[in-house]
């Protein structure tokens, strides 16, 4: 008995230590980025700033917000996310509901058609050629239609409907002469707020974070989502000359430019991730719920 209590405590200590180490390992880069975005670059670049901000400055953020591209990107990403999610919900939820109705003829076939696409696809080139032939290239639609729904989200939604909507209620409603349309809109949807929230979040994050679709389908900079501008700044090292100006039209000295470049990068990372960071703590449990629903599908 005593041996077990001692062993238990040893285990707990070890377990907690292990998890604490992992958590700090995950946390540190995030804290570093935030601090670096608020610190004087000299301290950051020399390594003197390693945890908390040193030489507090908002210059990075000032320069980022002065950049027109960032605002264009923000607005476009917002459009893509909102419009995208609306389309996603309109395509996914009705389909999932229909597939959850057990008596529906052809249900298995449709499910198979949808699920098969999770395992096999035509490939990047045939898909690109299709989008091009539909005339969607270089339009907002190129980022909204090809991603109108994902098979996995339809399956997760179907599982939700299957386990959360009682058959008796459906039968009672249909016996009262309630059409399927009405039943869905007036009864099912209000009961499925949790699912709608989860789907909106899953799809929304996908839209906000995506860059590759924009990369291959868009050439007009006015249509670029935020991530594409981020790519220019963070990966291609093309800091818009706008951001390297010295209040007016005089470009900063080369040495100043190198110093500021890193600072701008840190700030722009935070600015881009800002909506998700702000929303995350509140919705985290919804995401987890979503994954849990999906995991019960078997």
């Amino acid at each position: 008995m005593i041996k077990q209590a001692f062993e238990d405590r040893m285990f707990q200590t070890f377990n907690h230590g292990f998890l604490l180490a992992i958590t700090l390992l995950v946390l540190y880069p995030l804290v570093y980025i935030v601090s670096a975005s608020l610190s004087d670059p000299t301290y950051v670049n020399s390594g003197q700033m390693w945890l908390w901000p040193k030489g507090f400055t908002l210059e990075g953020y000032e320069r980022v917000f002065a950049n027109r591209d960032i605002w264009t990107g923000y607005m476009n990403s917002a459009i893509y996310t909102v419009a995208g999610v609306l389309i996603n919900l309109a395509v996914t939820l009705p389909c999932a509901y229909a597939l959850s109705r057990r008596g529906l003829p052809g249900r298995k076939a449709v499910t198979l058609i949808i699920v098969f696409t999770m395992f096999f696809s035509g490939g990047l080139i045939p898909t690109y050629l299709l989008v091009k032939s539909l005339g969607l290239v270089n339009t907002y639609w190129a980022l909204l239609l090809p991603s109108a729904a994902t098979a996995i989200n339809i399956i997760v939604s179907r599982t939700f409907f299957q386990s959360n909507i009682s058959r008796e209620m459906e039968e009672a409603a249909s016996m009262d002469g309630c059409s399927d349309f009405r039943m869905f809109a007036v009864i099912i949807l209000p009961l499925s707020k949790a699912l709608i929230a989860v789907m909106a979040l899953f799809y929304g994050v996908g839209h906000w974070n995506q860059y590759f679709g924009a990369l291959i389908y868009l050439s007009d900079r006015d249509l670029y989502p935020l991530q594409l501008f981020l790519r220019e700044i963070l990966v291609q090292q093309e800091i818009a000359s706008q951001m390297l100006m010295n209040g007016g039209d005089i470009e900063l000295l080369m040495s100043e430019q190198t110093r500021i470049t890193e600072l701008i990068k840190y700030a722009v990372m935070i600015v881009a991730a800002l909506p998700l960071i702000v929303v995350y703590p509140f919705v985290q449990k919804h995401f987890v719920q979503g994954v849990m629903i999906g995991s019960l599908k078997e």
Binding site: L20, V26, P94, C95, A98, V110, F120, W208, L230, R231
Partner: protein, 299 residues
């Protein structure tokens, strides 16, 4: 009047519900699968898919005989196997979190480890590039402080695969654990009680109750993982690639993008893409068949 057709007519509205999704999948998934036949043709935009000339396996032969075929295959497989080797990490994290009794600590761990999952691949790549910068990056600062020489991680081919796989693990170890945590919650607590009465230690219980309890989930996720075996999240690879690390970072998918979209070699790269997808599918089928013998499979 057969019941089937009256059933269909009664629920015509449900079929309307199915329409948008079906239309979407047919247009954006099945038509491209049909279009993949250009892999066997000499595609010309003017002649279209039907008019283009059939050349059979010529593209495939060209690919297999190319000087870069083995390099692409090697890089793709190496990165994949590397990633697969880290597959147990999320499982271990889940088993670990599951044993935590302090609710606040548990929530703290979960809140922090789930967060990186939501960071976009562009920002992750940006983070990698600033952290590994040879002169200003924190990693090299630490190396210098310990008396070492700064390493140019991003331009060294030898480091690429580790950077790619380990950063992916950092991002996903928490999120990947969620499914296992859900499965662990479903294990009958009576099993644990009985084991405790018999004097089994924590370790013992984890290995002999928890692990077997979530084995179905593990197997299914493993198979799903294999299903995208050859795909290797190339969005991130594409962002981290540069001419200096190319020999380690060029994989099948990035080659398809570069030669296909950027150099308009449409049917050639469609063939490569098709090869890629077929291998994926074959691996998936094989492992699913193997798993079926153990009673746990995707279908």
């Amino acid at each position: 009047m057969s019941t089937l057709s009256s059933n269909i007519r009664k629920h015509w509205q449900l079929y309307v519900f199915l329409l948008p999704a079906l239309a979407y999948f047919v247009i954006f998934h099945y038509i491209p699968i049909y279009g993949a036949q250009i892999a066997f043709k000499h595609y010309s935009a003017v002649k279209g898919i039907w008019g283009s000339e059939w050349i059979g396996f010529d593209h495939f032969e060209r690919f297999f005989n190319s000087y870069y075929f083995w390099l692409l295959l090697k890089n793709t497989l190496q990165i994949n196997v590397y990633q697969l080797a880290l597959f147990p990490v999320s499982i271990i994290v889940a088993l670990s979190i599951h044993e935590v009794t302090r609710a606040r600590f548990k929530r703290f761990v979960q809140l922090v480890t789930y967060a990186p999952h939501f960071i976009s691949v562009v920002v992750i790549s940006g983070m990698i590039l600033v952290f590994l910068d040879p002169s200003t990056g924190i990693v090299n600062t630490i190396i210098r402080a310990l008396g070492g020489e700064p390493v140019s991680f991003i331009t060294e081919p030898g480091w690429f695969k580790s950077i790619y796989v380990l950063s992916g693990e950092w991002q996903n170890l928490g999120w990947g654990a969620i499914i296992y945590l859900a499965a662990l919650a479903g294990i009958n607590p009576e099993l644990h009680e009985a084991a405790q009465i018999d004097g089994a230690s924590r370790w013992h219980r984890i290995f002999h109750i928890n692990l077997p309890g979530i084995m179905p989930t593990i197997i299914i996720l493993f198979i799903l993982n294999l299903g995208s075996f050859m795909n290797v999240g190339f969005e991130k690879i594409y962002l981290l690639q540069n001419p200096l690390n190319m020999e380690a970072s060029e994989v099948i998918q990035t080659h398809v993008y570069r030669s296909g979209l950027l150099q308009a070699q449409y049917s050639y790269t469609a063939a490569i893409g098709l090869f890629n997808n077929l291998i994926n599918f074959a691996i998936l089928l094989t492992f699913n068949r193997l798993a079926r013998r153990s009673g746990n499979s995707l279908w």
